[in-house]
């Protein structure tokens, strides 16, 4: 192994490589292309992955919604088609009985799912918007970005049933002049005046609420509309390591038993499981990453085989040179090492250049997609992956170099010299 650290060895190899430029370039291109594709593909896949992550950043990944519908089976003396109604009591029951639930936010709403939006007035301007009665904990499930100077509903608002409201970006645009600060001002919702405490910004990516949604404390809502313990729907977030599909089943089972619904009735309660959908999307991204890995490795493999191929041809071409070297005293192992090192060196150069080019492409892509409305962010390839690919290439380069090296040694110097 001493020859590896001998500067003379490298001078000899560098001489041989640098003076056969065409051959070197052609040899290098195969592997260069391979690692370039590998870096570009896996970086792009990672970018998509990151993009999804970013899009879902504002919502709890393991979240779901549950709402009430009508029964479709008779049960316990009740006839079919009985309308269901979720109550605040259900929240407590679920929280107590399902430990996997991290947050549960009951909500009551107007202006969604076919109900009439609320007529809202400020001075001469007016509009109709969705109105939600919310718990402060709701922001744990779906983050609300509030513009500077404002805030979301807090526990005191709830306790005192304050008439405070958080309005959406569009509401602000439609009811206020440009540059006017809405925080502290009053809007009339229906027949009641509310003080604006914040304006929520429309989240990039996935959001449960539109930019025209308005939020008031749940307690205020129920007083105002006399809705009692009624709940529109439940927003539930499970812990990250929980099985969301199972949690969803458990929730429905408990709701069915407390509301005296046939356990087999699939229609009584509706739900939308975001965690499940999200898992599918992430699965797609993972698949993409895996595919890019496979394609990249395969391309690198093809490139390395190409290097071996060209070295094999070049050994034939250089039979005489190698014969001369051996006549001058090169031992078979010196000749073999030279060929292998040429192979490894070429592979390494190609790899490094390919990685640099790939990284260049990724940074270009990054700059290009920065502001695009597309789930794509920060395309990177983890350093261990790059080093791993490089290591694979060096190992393959050595192995593939063995073939031409063995060929070079197997030709006797006398035959090599005789060849004209």
């Amino acid at each position: 192994m001493k020859f590896l650290f001998d500067s003379n060895t490298w001078q000899e190899i560098f001489g041989s490589i640098s003076k056969n430029k065409t051959r070197t370039i052609i040899t290098v291109i195969g592997v260069l292309w391979g690692i370039f594709i590998y870096v570009a593909l896996s970086g792009a896949a990672k970018g998509l992955d990151n993009g999804f992550d970013k899009a879902f950043k504002t919502v709890a990944m393991n979240s779901m919604f549950v709402w009430a519908q009508n029964t479709s089976m008779p049960y316990d003396g009740f006839k079919t088609g009985r309308p269901m109604q979720l109550k605040l009591g259900d929240v407590e029951t679920l929280e107590n009985r399902i430990p996997e639930i991290q947050y549960i936010a009951p909500r009551i709403t107007q202006g969604q799912f076919g109900s009439k939006p609320v007529y809202t007035v400020r001075g001469q301007k007016s509009g109709s918007y969705t109105l939600n009665g919310d718990y402060p904990i709701y922001t744990k499930i779906s983050t609300k970005k509030i513009f500077d100077g404002g805030r979301f509903i807090n526990q005191e608002d709830m306790d005192q049933a304050r008439k405070v409201i958080v309005i959406g970006e569009r509401v602000q645009q439609e009811l206020y002049k440009k540059g006017e600060d809405p925080v502290g001002s009053y809007v009339r919702v229906g027949n009641v005046y509310f003080q604006v405490i914040g304006v929520h910004k429309l989240a990039q990516g996935v959001s449960f609420d539109s930019d025209s949604a308005m939020f008031i404390p749940f307690s205020t809502y129920r007083k105002l509309y006399n809705s009692g313990d009624n709940v529109g729907y439940l927003c539930i977030a499970a812990y990250d390591d929980a099985d969301v599909v199972q949690v969803e089943k458990d929730i429905k089972a408990i709701l069915k038993s407390t509301h005296r619904v046939n356990p087999k009735d699939e229609r009584a309660f509706g739900s939308f499981n975001l965690g499940e959908r999200f898992g599918e999307i992430m699965g797609f991204a993972d698949g993409l990453t895996f595919m890019s890995l496979v394609v990249g490795i395969a391309t690198i493999l093809a490139g390395v085989i190409g290097i071996g191929n060209i070295l094999l041809i070049s050994v034939k071409e250089r039979t005489k040179e190698l014969g001369v070297r051996r006549a001058l005293g090169a031992t078979p192992s010196e000749v073999r090492n030279q060929i292998i090192l040429e192979s490894v060196f070429l592979t390494l150069i190609a790899g490094v250049v390919g990685i640099i080019l790939g990284a260049g492409l990724l940074s270009g892509l990054n700059a290009f997609t920065k502001d695009a409305d597309f789930p794509y962010a920060n395309p990177t390839v983890p350093i261990p992956y790059v080093l791993g690919a490089l290591a694979i290439m060096v190992i393959l380069g050595t192995l593939i170099g063995l073939i031409p090296a063995q060929r070079a040694v197997s030709i006797k110097p006398i035959d090599a010299l005789r060849e004209e």
């Binding site: 500067s7 003379n8 001078q11 000899e12 001489g15 041989s16 003076k19 056969n20 005489k320 040179e321 014969g323 001369v324 070297r325 051996r326 006549a327 001058l328 005293g329 090169a330 031992t331 078979p332 192992s333 010196e334 040694v409 006797k412 110097p413 006398i414 010299l417 004209e420």
Partner: protein, 233 residues
């Protein structure tokens, strides 16, 4: 320096075997300049290849500077070649992507001589063959005679015990041939042992001893009055 006793060599050609060397007895002392002559097929190149450890003998013995040369593996043969022998070929066999100096330095590389010293030595030998100014030129920028002189410098660079030249003038016109022979004579004058294979009588006459080979045996081995090549140059 060279001691050959009852040397036999045959090549297998399918089922036939071709007996090329049929009992050669031959010795060379230090400082000799020997021409090996013979028509093609006489076995002279085979003899030179065996002397150069590029080929193995079948029977007999070969001692080089007191070292028996027998059953060498490739690695050992390469080391002996590097230590004992310098080669000059008819077709020069310079490495075409290396400059004259790098070509000359190559055997020193395989002797594990450092880069600086290699270059110094290479320049010294190039100066001896009168090509110091051409040190950085590639072989294809040199004439045939110049190439052969570079090749001779390369053979000398390793400071071998014996210089083996296989038709060193075979690819050169007569004027250049004499220049090359002049150089070989000068190297011999310094005390180096040289064996050269040729089929040109005038080249052979420039050596000190002529060994005539025919059909695998030595038919004549005579000392001759050396003709100096310098008078033709």
């Amino acid at each position: 320096m060279i001691e050959i006793k009852d040397l036999h060599k045959s090549y297998k050609m399918g089922s036939n075997s071709l007996h090329v060397l049929k009992g050669i007895n031959f010795s060379v002392k230090e400082g000799e300049l020997v021409a090996i002559m013979g028509s093609s097929g006489s076995g002279k190149s085979t003899l030179l290849n065996i002397l150069g450890m590029l080929d193995e003998l079948d029977e007999g013995s070969y001692d080089l500077d007191g070292v028996p040369i027998k059953n060498l593996n490739e690695t050992k043969a390469a080391q002996y070649r590097n230590k004992f022998l310098g080669f000059v070929f008819q077709s020069f066999n310079l490495i075409n992507y290396k400059s004259a100096m790098e070509n000359v330095a190559l055997p020193l590389y395989y002797q594990k001589v450092g880069r600086k010293e290699r270059q110094e030595k290479a320049l010294k030998y190039l100066e001896q063959v009168g090509l110091k100014e051409w040190a950085t030129h590639l072989p294809n920028e040199l004439s045939g005679g110049q190439k052969q002189r570079v090749a001779i410098a390369r053979a000398m660079a390793a400071e071998p015990k014996v210089l083996l030249a296989d038709e060193p003038t075979g690819a050169l016109d007569s004027k250049t041939s004499y220049e090359v022979m002049d150089l070989i004579q000068k190297i011999n004058d310094q005390g180096n042992t040289i064996l050269l294979v040729t089929h040109e009588p005038d080249i052979a006459d420039m050596c000190k001893r002529i060994v005539h080979l025919k059909d695998g045996v030595i038919i004549e081995d005579k000392k001759v009055e050396q003709v100096r090549a310098s008078q033709y140059v």
